[in-house]
Assembly symmetry: C2
Homo-oligomer: 370 residues x 2
């Protein structure tokens, strides 16, 4: 079965990438034994392959610790209990997880379930008075996203979206260069995001669970990337859909969408989202004075980057480890990330995705106000 | 003054490209002294910088020879006469060049004048009974292009368009790989074509002479490249225009256009044409089994290319020298090029460009039948 996770894992090894770096261990700066500050105690909801990746990465985390699990599969619960040392009292299923509100061992829940489930699950977690981290897309449309933002605000809990690239060192270096003016006026962004999806029966190809197709799963990297690379919010979008395999990609499940964004400064973005093509993971940002390229741009790493002044050499660190440390700091210490990862940030992407689908349906430009 | 020619010249030296190869001399295969076959005797119309480049490249050509010139500037005529040894009787101006029909020293005229002049000039050359090579774009719209094709057919002369990339070795190797199935089913093409144009007073920024803006001058490389890289004719086009400097880029002169093409197989193309951004000269072709990249893709060289199996190592040869040799063989020996360079080929690009401008105006998808 080929999933985005497999793809993001493998792309660094594909022919399209620059030569492989050897796998780099988490940075030395993360030293668990020395750390004495507060720790975010996290329950993971959804014990699939990405949930496992996050749990494994959290072992190296300084400020975040896995203390609970929520799953509908008793065998997985058992397995995780032994693997991660989770006590019985911190294990929940989808019927009883509202009781988490009475559990003092859990500060936050990381929701890593199919897209269409996020809305209800996040709201239930908020109502239980726990902070929420939710995988992207935060929901399947902006109406849902807004309700989630509102519910978390009302419950006075934080809502963060799993934008791990917002903490990736090469990405951050390009954002720094751009905002320090080193690229000059930004003119053009290009985002290619795609892979060939395998098993036709997986939830990502089920409209009811995924809320869409490639756009929801991998295209969102280009949507989000366009915004943090250009450093502006788009004011219009156009989009064109192509479907070559309507049997695999049923009604409402997009296979390939090209979309274009226009920004207030006059910068434009040209992006591709696809479940039909291998090896597409490239960001390119062009300014009046220079350029920046990431390829792979959003895989699990190592990310490779270069600019008009040369290769980027920031070390690779496990994305999910850094993400959990940074998110713990945001929740526990009100740390402000360079690029937001809150519910409003996730909502903006959903508004753009809604507009992309609308532009496909209408066959014309759709104006945006984010 | 920055023109496309300057740009195409310089891009190989820019930061965005791969390391420079040393300048390679024309291939050894071209050995003027050994060649005993027929020679195409060519007059150049329009003695500007690109005309000069073609004339210089023809010095190394085996099968094409500069024998005449047509210019409105007597000083240029004098200069060229001495530089290229052109006799007085083979020199014409724009009033009297119809007399070329009585000149047995000239087989063909290469029209290298502003775009909007091509239509009338090509038809006049055809009526004078000489073969015509015409720089691209062959005209400023498809109606003109069709009239030129018809006029040359009627006059029983050949009409070729200056598509030098159709003879470029790395380009041809990718076309061979694609048509031999080495890339698998072709899914995606991306063409970036642009540079920052200088002098606001040059003819390329004058709608009356250029017939448009960047699309006519540099965007056409992506239009044409999409077709020969994908190996199909597009069936729809969408396009979005952005103008950040309406003073420099007046009504009817496009600064930046993104356009997308759909092909019968389901392959899609995503392209950018711009006069506002530096260093954009990249083609990327993605298939089910592999990919091919050219960067720079259309500059005067050396072209750099790589595919999923590695770097392309075909030697650089002066594009215009090869083009003139090949075009002489097409005209004199009915040689069939791998990718056509005839009037119908030029007309297809104009039909697409007409549709791109229409798609910008209408703000919606335009169907194509080529």
């Amino acid at each position: 079965m080929s999933t985005r996770r497999d793809f993001l894992n493998k792309i660094a090894m594909s022919g399209i990438t620059l030569p492989l770096m050897s796998t780099v261990q988490p940075t030395e700066a993360i030293n668990i034994t020395d750390y004495q500050g507060p720790v975010l105690r996290v329950a993971i909801m959804g014990l699939g392959s990405y949930g496992t990746r996050v749990a494994e990465a959290m072992r190296e985390s300084k400020m975040a610790k896995l203390t609970g699990i929520i799953s509908g599969t008793p065998a997985k619960i058992k397995d995780w209990q032994s693997k991660f040392g989770i006590p019985e009292k911190n294990c929940y299923n989808y019927e009883n997880f509202d009781n988490i509100k009475n559990n003092p061992d859990i500060d936050a829940v990381y929701v890593i379930t199919p897209n269409a489930l996020h809305h209800d699950q996040v709201i239930r977690v908020a109502k239980a008075g726990k902070h929420v981290i939710c995988e992207k897309p935060m929901a399947i449309n902006a109406i849902q996203g807004q309700e989630m933002v509102d519910a978390c605000k009302k419950a006075n809990v934080k809502l963060l979206i799993g934008y791990r690239m917002h903490f990736e060192p090469k990405t951050l270096e390009i954002i720094r260069m751009r905002s320090d003016g080193e690229l000059g006026k930004v003119l053009f962004f290009q985002g290619l995001a795609g892979f060939r999806i395998g098993d036709p029966n997986q939830w990502r190809l089920d409209k009811k669970l995924a809320g869409g197709g490639a756009m929801m799963d991998i295209g969102i990297y280009a949507v989000n990337g366009a915004r943090y690379m250009v450093g502006e919010e788009p004011v219009w979008v156009t989009a064109q859909e192509t479907k070559t395999d309507p049997k695999k990609f049923k009604e409402g499940v997009d296979e390939t969408i090209q979309f274009q964004l226009g920004f207030p400064s006059g910068a434009v973005a040209s992006c591709l989202s696809t479940y039909a093509m291998s090896n597409l993971d490239r960001f390119f940002l062009n300014g009046e004075k220079g350029f920046a390229e990431l390829q792979p741009a959003t895989g699990y790493g190592p990310i490779k980057g270069r600019t008009h002044v040369g290769e980027l050499n920031q070390p690779h660190i496990t994305h999910q480890t850094v993400q959990m440390d940074e998110m713990a700091a945001i929740i526990l210490q009100n740390k402000k990330p360079v690029v937001p990862v809150d519910g409003e940030e996730g909502l903006k992407d959903l508004k753009i995705i809604d507009a992309i689908y609308q532009a496909v349906r209408l066959g014309k430009k759709v104006d945006l106000k984010l």
